[in-house]
Amino acid sequence: MLSIKNLHASIGGKEILKGINLEVKAGEVHAIMGPNGSGKSTLSAVLAGREEYEVTEGEVIFNGKNLLEMSPEDRAREGVFLAFQYPVEIPGVSNVNFLKTAINEIRAYKGLEPMEAKDFLIRLKEKQKLVELDGKLTNRSVNEGFSGGEKKRNEIFQMAILEPKLAILDETDSGLDIDALRIVANGVNKLKSKENATIVITHYQRLLDYIIPDVVHILYNGKIVKSGPKELALELEEKGYDFIKEEVGA
């Protein structure tokens, strides 16, 4: 589904990603872990198409298409979803209106008619339950006045509504208490299928107690320095990131 080859990216002339290679297949969950400043968020931003980042080398193929040539909105329409580390507030725009606009834009891209109001409502209700989101929040302005946990839950709710092929969760666990973490993780697990894939970017191992990854990658200094089964996350938790630094001889 996703194939990243030798990806280099920089911001303001400073190279952050220094040759990333990653293969993600449908049905898989990949975890990317790494210390602060290793390039985790840069990777998710580059995949989603943030314009501040300049890709200097490498390629990203998503379902046979060159992802890097697409506008951010077209990437979303092709099925890439980024759950933001810091979800943005849009005052005055209701969640419902926002999602309806998004769904219909994606449908228009695929040559489909706008979704029937009834079908949209059914989907809304169904997914609301899935992420245990308070019905009131769906009618409120996008993320405005939401608590940290509500914002993160709202990201997963949006993901549930938009049904992406590839979901990238950028530090979705940060700032969540244990109950919220469980709810968010449950949502992600329930949305998992053979057709879609998930990349979980995290600093801590604890999210991986709830979302079990097929592969764990360790990102360090702009490169994936180690990949392994889910146990790698535990080892990392136990030994700290220093062991990686020693291992790669930094």
Binding site: E51, I90, P91, Q158
Partner: protein, 483 residues
């Protein structure tokens, strides 16, 4: 990337820039006592009206153009304006069938329904329309239906003929001709406009509206609107305006007066879409307008809602004098400037009565090279005990070449008064735009969403049909303003 989108979208044309090919009866350019006498004569006015005009003209000659607004523009040449231009009509109209087909086409293009019979189906919206083209009102609908309730809704010229006692009593009672330079000019040369009187205890059953259209080249539009709501009455009034695209600037200097008696309520909504000029700032309407209402007696209420997207230069402060005890004044405004447009707009809330309350919500949006200023005065006079005001002035900047300015003036002469003022300035966030894009929403739609969200509190105050129009208009006015 940003520039590409900008270039692509900015070419969007002003939708109402067409000219109606209709013969008109014009006075020669220029202004002097003779022209004023001619206008009065053409309108077959009584002597008192001519006297009023001449007094106003005399006063105007002693006045200087105001320069305190944060706008700059070439001074209009008052001798190079046609003060009277009337589309020629063969005879008095009895039904819509007799209207010049060119005019009918104009209504259609502007999306105004002039057909009364539609309401019989029960589904069409019921809005009575007075259509003013250049210097005269060409048609007023639903007059008879309204008359059954005692409501007078007609052109100003007709009111002078048919209801001189009302016009004499109320005209100039809120905005005297001495008020300011453009009010004086208007008082001398005004040609038409709408008049509306709601009698005691009547709730007007439909929205009343006036559509102002400038058509002829070289003309200025000077109209006057007077709305009087008698005791325990209610009316909601709408105003729309457009003009052809021309390279030269055209002057629009109107006066609107509202009088609310005991327990009366008047809602006045404007969607101002005069031609704003091209993207280099050439042409467009100078919109210098004096709008003021007075809550004359206890428990009355006047509410202004405006969506200002047009005009090259706007200079406008719809205000409320809160004279009656417990009276309420409201001002809800969205002002959008793009390209080289300039707007200096706001309100004045003058608290005279006890327990008077006012609310000001102003949302400015600046894009391109434009300048957008909020200027507002809240005055609580001595004796206006327990008066309250709440003001909120937000500015949204799009791009880095435009300006947003806020000039709030607060004068409190009574210790019991409470005035709250909140102001914010924000830039339309790259983060917000990217967030929308990452959900599959493109740049233009995203801007539309964000801007409409930002203006929601004001748009919600507009009558339904108007709100939908205003939302579309906002999106069009700002297309291509952010990349």
């Amino acid at each position: 990337m940003a520039n590409e989108i900008l270039a692509e979208q900015i070419s969007k044309e002003y939708e109402y820039g067409f000219v109606t090919d209709i013969e008109s009866d014009n006075l020669p350019k220029g202004l002097n006592e003779g022209v004023i006498r001619l206008i009065s004569n053409k309108k077959n006015e009584p002597e008192w009206m001519l006297e009023y005009r001449l007094k106003a003209y005399g006063h105007w000659l002693t006045m200087e153009e105001p320069h305190w607004a944060h706008v700059s523009y070439p001074k209009p040449d008052f001798q190079n304006i046609i003060y009277y231009s009337v589309p020629k009509q063969k005879k008095q109209l009895n039904s819509l069938d007799e209207v010049d087909p060119e005019l009918l086409k104009t209504y259609e293009k502007l999306g105004i329904s002039m057909e009364e019979q539609k309401r019989l189906s029960g589904v069409e919206s019921r809005i009575a329309v007075d259509f003013v083209m250049d210097s005269v009102s060409v048609k007023t609908t639903f007059k008879e239906t309204l008359a059954e309730k005692g409501i007078i809704f007609c052109s100003f010229g007709e009111a002078v003929q048919e209801h001189p006692e009302l016009v004499k009593k109320y005209m100039s009672s809120v905005v005297p001709y001495t008020d300011n330079f453009y009010a004086a000019l208007n008082s001398a040369v005004f040609t038409d406009g709408s008049f509306c009187y709601i009698p005691k205890g009547v709730r007007c059953p439909m929205e009343l509206s006036t559509y102002f259209r400038i058509n002829s080249a070289g003309t200025g539009q000077f109209e006057r609107t007077l709305i009087v709501a008698d005791e325990d009455s209610y009316v909601s009034y709408l105003e729309g305006c457009t003009a052809p695209m021309r390279d030269e600037n055209q002057l629009h200097a109107a006066v609107v007066e509202i009088v609310a008696h005991k327990n009366a309520e008047v809602k006045y909504s404007t969607v101002q879409n005069w031609y704003p000029g091209d993207r280099e700032g050439k042409g467009g309407i100078f919109n210098f307008v004096t709008k003021r209402g007075i809550c004359l007696e206890d428990n009355s209420k006047i509410s202004w809602t405006q969506v200002e997207t047009g005009s090259a230069v706007t200079w406008k402060y719809p205000s409320v004098i809160l004279k009656g005890d417990n009276s309420v004044g409201e001002f809800y405004s969205v002002a959008v400037t793009n390209n080289y447009q300039q707007a200096d707009t706001g309100t004045k809330m003058m608290h005279l009565g006890k327990n008077t309350r006012s609310t000001i919500i102003s949302k400015g949006i600046s894009a391109g090279f434009s300048n957008n200023s909020y200027r507002g005065l809240v005055r609580i006079s001595k004796g206006a005990t327990n008066a309250r005001n709440f003001s909120q002035c937000d500015s949204l900047l799009m791009g880095d070449k435009c300006g947003a300015h806020t000039y709030p003036y607060i004068e409190i002469k009574d210790k019991s008064g409470i005035v709250e003022h909140e102001a914010t300035t924000s830039k339309i966030g790259e983060d917000q735009l990217f967030y929308c894009k990452s959900r599959g929403i493109d740049n233009e739609k995203a801007i539309g969403l964000i801007v409409n969200g930002y203006c929601k509190e004001v748009l919600n105050k507009l009558p339904m049909e108007f709100a939908v129009e205003a939302q579309k208009l906002l999106a069009v006015s700002l297309e291509g303003s952010v990349g």
